[in-house]
Symmetry: C2
Subunit: 228 residues, 2 copies
Amino acid sequence: IVRTRDLTKQYQLGDQTVYALRDVKLDIRRGEYISIMGPSGSGKSTLFNMIGGLDKPTSGTVFIDEVDMAQLDAFELAWLRCRKIGYIFQTFNLIPVMTALENVTLPMIFAGMSSDEMLEKGVKLLETVGLGERLHHKPAQLSGGQQQRVAIARSLANDPAIVLADEPTGNLDLRTGKEIIELLRRLNKEQGVTIISATHDLKMIDVSDRVIWIRDGRIERIENREDI
Amino acid sequence: IVRTRDLTKQYQLGDQTVYALRDVKLDIRRGEYISIMGPSGSGKSTLFNMIGGLDKPTSGTVFIDEVDMAQLDAFELAWLRCRKIGYIFQTFNLIPVMTALENVTLPMIFAGMSSDEMLEKGVKLLETVGLGERLHHKPAQLSGGQQQRVAIARSLANDPAIVLADEPTGNLDLRTGKEIIELLRRLNKEQGVTIISATHDLKMIDVSDRVIWIRDGRIERIENREDI
Ligand SMILES: Nc1ncnc2c1ncn2[C@@H]1O[C@H](COP(=O)(O)OP(=O)(O)OP(=O)(O)O)[C@@H](O)[C@H]1O
Ligand SMILES: Nc1ncnc2c1ncn2[C@@H]1O[C@H](COP(=O)(O)OP(=O)(O)OP(=O)(O)O)[C@@H](O)[C@H]1O
Ligand SMILES: [Mg+2]
Ligand SMILES: [Mg+2]
């Protein structure tokens, strides 16, 4: 479902070049649960931005369902980002002036869902992440981990085929973190959603089909489940 | 060094009352290393904001060095926050238009340090957290964990007596997280800095003198090191 070839991203800052990604070659199959692990600054979020069509590579190619993302026009890219991929950002990226429920239902507006459907689904998603009592709270009125969970609920708004999760359990306690991992596992096993998760959380390894280790912008090694 | 008595913080939202803290009684001694653990939404950041003079309680009292914080005027409170307490926020709170070095040296300006001293110390602090090569990068040009480390460096700008650390390793990989915990441990053991850290990171327990477990705004139990 996702393929990258020779994917490179570099940033030029004055006379300093930072290589966020270097010639990344990756094949991710439909329905896989992939964890991407690596040190701080190793390129995980950058890889996410590439796969998710949120940024362009310096060179190289990203294919989603065999379509080269560079060939998509603005409308096609927007459709992909709205309907096929759910994002859980490392910094949540919630809209401060919107309530939890409004944040979760916003993607549904773009997908053309009716008001009643949106509200019902938004409430259900927030209940799923343990926030059924906090629907009308704005991000500033929620703890760090609660905001993260709103972001998780939002990523599922349009039943994505792929969930890109950047540190989804970083601000969560052990038990809440396990609940979120279980939610992602069920999505994967029961609904065939492809999960691609950057994480420092070793609990993720248990539910992953493969773990991709990244360092200094390169894939260091890939471990299959049997090897772990 | 820090005492709280009957500390309560509640938020009123329409007809809903959220109790972030309920009658918290806490005594923290000079030179202790304290970890505060608890589920998402249990009140850790709120407790930090109280102790750190960043917000006012609904009722109850916070004493820093036997001085009631409610009795401090604006100038005294600012002095305390600048010179005595170093903050590591859960969301980093870096200033986007400033470079890493400028973020780290900003508190030093308020403390009246000379330009040369500031630059030397700022560079040294960023080197200590592994960012010696990224002095002139702005937050948007740094990864999540790198931003967190800039925030850690900034908290040490004015050699605080107390470091309040809210999830300091949440965005860090295992190795970088251990390095930061070791840094805090050395500050504590070698320089007598009081460390108060909210965390979900079980590695913190090893270096803590006491662990305070918080749930639904209340102190659930306090474990001494020998008990752990
Ligand atoms: N906009 C940018 N401009 C310059 N450099 C950048 C930019 N974004 C990221 N980088 C650099 O690229 C490298 C990879 O960053 P990335 O955010 O992908 O790391 P990461 O693996 O997600 O790290 P973390 O675990 O800390 O979140 C880092 O060195 C980072 O500083
Ligand atoms: N400004 C606010 N208005 C209303 N409620 C708030 C506000 N700030 C925090 N709360 C609520 O108070 C409770 C405690 O929040 P707090 O941020 O202290 O939790 P926390 O223990 O730090 O959680 P986390 O581990 O997720 O960061 C939560 O239920 C939160 O939603
Ligand atoms: Mg990242
Ligand atoms: Mg918090």
